[in-house]
């Protein structure tokens, strides 16, 4: 392709991002500032994730992009075709085939492997931001491991609602040191972060931060001893594949208010159905 460097970003920028990634991997959960670039899509559409992908992708990589678990949303399709054009890489919807997975708000149901990298799109990297509006103060709180305020928020949720009210972006402690936002993934996905064999990278384009969870790193969701972290899953089965364990989306299917529950992870759902089909055949 003419007029663009491989994977859109120039080599200097990629080097800058890779240096930030190296630092982030060295300090698990710590938010590393980076010089976020303008990308050909608006902030909030995954500019942080795209820059990470662009800095890491090589000609041999196979890229998968999901948006809320789905491979077929406008956003996922656009980003996939973007890299197909600017890097000429192979893309896939199959989790098992991908070497690089860029995701918005989900972790695939299929367990990740050590030869895979997952890149999360992050709108707000600092879990303290609602509690501490001043950035310099929040940075000091991280430096001092001063996370009492975060527990105060959980305490308050239990007091008011009888349980922790956040069902997504539930804060985690990484490597017993840094408080980290797991990005707005459902709390259901939080356990998958813990000791994952895959390298996990997080990019916030607008906020200009990169952070990472290296493979096999401890990631613990904040909770109380007597109110343990207990993520909820809709107590339904997938209408398409019959899964009783996957995370489900609730969909309105007609004008009469009819509802259907189906896997949020479209690839997983399809693999399940394929397996049932093969089994039946």
């Amino acid at each position: 392709m003419q007029g663009y460097n491989f994977a859109y970003l120039d080599e200097q920028t990629k080097r800058m991002i890779r240096r930030a990634v190296l630092k982030a991997v060295a300090i698990p959960g710590h938010q590393v500032p980076f010089a976020s670039r303008e990308m050909p899509l608006p902030y909030g559409w995954g500019t942080g994730g795209i820059q990470l992908t662009a800095a890491l992708i090589g000609p041999d990589d196979v890229l998968k992009v999901i948006d809320q678990g789905a491979d077929d949303t406008t956003n996922a399709v656009s980003i996939r075709s973007f890299f197909a054009r600017v890097a000429g890489v192979r893309t896939t919807t199959r989790t098992t085939e991908a070497s690089l997975i860029q995701t918005r708000h989900r972790i695939p149901e299929t367990p990740l492997r050590a030869d895979q990298i997952i890149i999360y799109q992050v709108p707000m990297p600092d879990p303290l931001y609602r509690l501490e509006p001043s950035r310099p103060v929040a940075r000091r709180l991280h430096a001092m491991v001063d996370y009492g305020a975060m527990h105060v928020k959980l305490y308050e949720d239990i007091t008011r609602f009888g349980r922790v009210a956040v069902s997504y972006d539930h804060p985690v402690m990484v490597n017993q040191r840094y408080l980290m936002s797991p990005s707005p993934i459902p709390a259901f996905d939080n356990p998958k972060l813990h000791r994952s064999p895959a390298l996990q990278l997080f990019g916030a384009g607008r906020e200009k931060r990169i952070y990472a969870v290296p493979p096999f790193t401890s990631v613990v969701s904040l909770d109380f001893e007597d109110h343990e972290f207990n993520p909820q899953r809709a107590p339904q089965t997938c209408a398409l594949c019959g899964s009783t364990t996957s995370y489900l989306d609730e969909m309105v299917i007609d004008d009469q208010g009819g509802r259907m529950f189906a896997c949020s992870d479209t690839d997983f759902c399809e693999q399940q159905r394929q397996a049932q089909h093969d089994h039946a055949a």
Partner: protein, 255 residues
């Protein structure tokens, strides 16, 4: 002599004004020391320096946590913050600045516990309930937001939220300063009984001689950043030697 906190030759200037001019003092365990003086005398600067909120330009502050005196300047910010979060307390004049008004009373009391590692919701609530009672707030208000509390109740809540970690040293900046006179007496009585029961050491800044007389074992009188007189509270107030102290004492309305 069991010294808890010691200041040596503190100097601090704000521009051309000397806020601290060669100030030295010692505080023993379980002792209540009042710092009195008019606005601008340097008493608040001294309190901020002693509590680690301000690093004086010259001089040392030593704190003995039981393992021998150690300079605050050398223990590093992490250690200092840990001290400030648990073994020390700071009670501000305006409780609104110290409390989270959109977090329940229980959450406010629990914050220092959680910051020190408490992770049992039920225990935190039980301790918070106990402390509400200790500061004479109806335990039924555990889940109420402090924004609906009166000034006196807010100050009592701040006291509970500070003492919950059983600190050994508490700094107080005009703890009754913003309150109605009718409420002041009650808070003073509460502070006095808690301080005695818990064996706290206290550094109290006040411009109110009456507050110092009721609470303090020892008194320091400051003017223009210098200590002009110090000693046993009743001795300094009943037999003031320094000209400024005499003026200060003479200016108090008789009770």
């Amino acid at each position: 002599m069991i010294t808890l906190l010691e200041a040596h030759a503190l100097h601090h200037r704000f521009g051309r004004t000397a806020a601290l001019d060669d100030v030295s003092l010692t505080l023993r365990r379980h002792e209540i020391l009042a710092i009195v003086g008019e606005s601008g005398s340097g008493k608040t600067t001294l309190l901020n320096a002693l509590s680690g909120r301000l690093t004086p330009q010259r001089g040392d502050i030593l704190y003995d946590d039981g393992g021998g005196p150690r300079a605050l300047a050398s223990c590093g910010e992490v250690v200092l913050r840990k001290l400030q979060r648990a073994r020390w307390g700071y009670i501000a004049q305006d409780p609104r600045s110290a409390l989270r008004l959109d977090i329940s009373a229980g959450g406010n009391i629990g914050e220092r516990l959680m910051a020190s590692g408490a992770r049992h919701y039920g225990d935190i609530r039980a301790i918070a309930t106990h402390w509400l009672e200790a500061v004479e707030i109806d335990p039924a208000r555990l889940d109420d937001l402090p924004r609906y509390f009166s000034g006196g109740m807010l100050q009592r809540l701040q006291i509970a939220a500070t003492l919950v970690t059983a600190p050994e040293l508490v700094f107080m900046d005009e703890p009754t300063g913003g309150l109605d006179v009718s409420v002041q007496a009650r808070i003073l009585d509460l502070i006095r009984s808690l301080v005695r029961r818990l064996g706290l050491a206290v550094v109290l800044v006040t411009h109110d001689i009456g507050v110092a007389r009721l609470l303090a074992d020892r008194l320091i009188v400051m003017r223009h950043g210098r200590i002009v007189e110090s000693g046993l509270t009743d001795q300094v107030l009943d037999d003031p030697h320094d000209e400024y102290t005499q003026l200060l004492v003479a200016s108090v309305l008789p009770a």
